[in-house]
């Protein structure tokens, strides 16, 4: 028998994926000024890759296939006195733009809420179905 509660699972995958995306955005914002990392060099902006996940032809969930690093160049700022400055006195600052991150965060929040609303509407439909048995 087909799983009746598949829409709930699909919405849950959406919630999970958007939550991971929000975590990554938070890391980017937190490290907007990290000029050194354990891996060496300045912090590189990270991004998530969404990938659809097929349950059946009508139910398509989502998961995050990979967290990738943004290859765009670092911001070079002239700060000769900085401990992470290179021999010419330039410091590599992360390729993070806080405005972009905030906009992405708003997008992720909206998508998260949309998935929550879908769970609520499924519960509503299910409750209405149960009410038939009580008539």
């Amino acid at each position: 028998m087909e799983d009746m509660f598949l829409p709930l699972k699909v919405s849950a995958t959406g919630l999970e994926a958007q939550k991971i995306r929000m975590n990554v955005i938070a890391s980017n914002i937190a490290n907007a000024n990290s000029t050194s990392t354990p891996e060496g060099g300045a912090y590189r902006r990270k991004d998530v890759l969404f990938e659809s996940y097929l349950y059946d032809e009508s139910s398509v969930g989502v998961n995050i296939s990979k967290i990738v690093e943004d290859p765009s160049p670092f911001k070079k700022i002239y700060q000769p006195g900085h401990p992470d400055a290179d021999k010419d006195g330039y410091v590599n600052y992360p390729n993070v733009d806080s405005v972009t991150e905030m906009i992405n965060l708003i997008g992720a929040t909206h998508a998260y809420e949309a998935n929550l609303t879908l769970i609520a509407s499924f519960k509503d439909m299910y409750t209405k179905t149960l009410a038939i048995t009580q008539s």
Binding site: S58, A111, S121, M125
Partner: protein, 112 residues
């Protein structure tokens, strides 16, 4: 005599439940690159269901109406949420009518 209206309400709920699954997938994939928004036509599926009286295959089509973003995704969150609201109302209406139908029958049966 088969109860025609209960049968139609049942089909309405079937179609709306299926459409809910399709719309749920669109919302979950609102940010998946290359994902195309999908939908079924409630009216078309109802016409098919009523005329064929049997289980028919749903015709799922790509519903992306807005210009696709750079990553090829055609889901518009606002349009999808409006569709969900509409679909949930249709489903709830059918379920409520079903309740009333059954109550009416009960009343008839319990009449002195």
């Amino acid at each position: 005599m088969p109860e025609k209206s209960i049968r139609i309400l049942e089909q309405m709920m079937d179609v709306a439940a299926f459409r809910n699954k399709v719309l749920t997938s669109n919302i979950a994939n609102a940010d998946t690159p290359g994902y195309k928004a999908k939908d079924i036509s409630f009216q078309e599926e109802m016409e098919k269901a009523v005329s064929s009286d049997g289980k028919s295959e749903y015709n799922i089509y790509e519903s992306g109406t807005t210009m696709s973003e750079r990553d090829g995704n055609t889901v518009n969150l606002d349009i999808e949420m409006a569709k969900v609201a509409e679909n949930t109302l249709i489903y709830d209406t059918a379920a409520q009518l079903m309740v009333m139908k059954i109550r009416m029958k009960k009343n008839v049966l319990s009449a002195p």
